[in-house]
Symmetry: C2
Subunit: 135 residues, 2 copies
């Protein structure tokens, strides 16, 4: 049975579920940042998914890119990463990056503490992500 790692609950907000992945908004108002967590028990690596699930995940990564683009930031480059060194449950980050953002041009992961959205901005971001994802 799939069980979401608590680490995601602490750092992000639920957007909803796509056909494979649970979708979360990373709670850092500095970056438009979606996290996809495939709902598959004990999956840690991409190679733990079936080919069908990998195809679905690819579609969901593209959809997450559209959602990231809907969050109201200028975006010069998407960054997509499946790391998991800290939280090994399989998950994929889709982050919109712009010249001059706090971590630019380095990776966002591990750069600096998140700055949480305030309440209304969080509600607006969740609503925009859901609309872009059809959720």
């Amino acid at each position: 049975m799939f069980e979401l790692d608590d680490a995601f609950v602490a750092t992000s907000q639920a957007v909803g579920d796509l056909s494979l992945s649970h979708v979360r908004l990373h709670d850092d108002a500095r970056y438009p940042w979606i996290v996809l967590i495939p709902r598959r028990e004990a999956a840690r690596e991409l190679e733990d998914l079936t080919r069908q699930d990998l195809a679905t995940l690819t579609d969901e990564i593209l959809a997450a890119g559209r959602a990231v683009r809907a969050l109201g930031f200028r975006i010069d480059k998407l960054n997509v990463g499946a790391l998991g060194n800290v939280t090994p449950q399989l998950h994929v980050h889709v982050v919109g990056r712009r010249l001059g953002d706090p971590a630019w041009p380095g990776p966002v992961w591990g750069h600096s503490p998140a700055q949480a959205y305030d309440g209304p901005a969080l509600d607006a971001a969740l609503a925009a992500a859901r609309e872009a994802l059809g959720l």
Copy 2:
């Protein structure tokens, strides 16, 4: 026409070509690290590829993971990333990570200057990668 960005030539060694991607070994003896560059003109983002190319790229990411595992390091986690903030030509990193490696648990990108393989170790790594990829 596809043309490889010079930045890859400066930092990595050619392994060969899979059906979609040009494959390179990142020249840093501290990490088993493969870079896939889809041979598609002007592609910068995953969304620039067709669905068929995305399916092929997924297969090639799994194959790169097997090649990374064949390079003789202990591997605790694979890291897969498509960033491109510095070199925007579409490329995917597949890196084997281990507890206590120089950047652990942070990302390898931007962490510290590469330490090039010496000649015999480079030859051995290229041979192992080619064998794992059937090249």
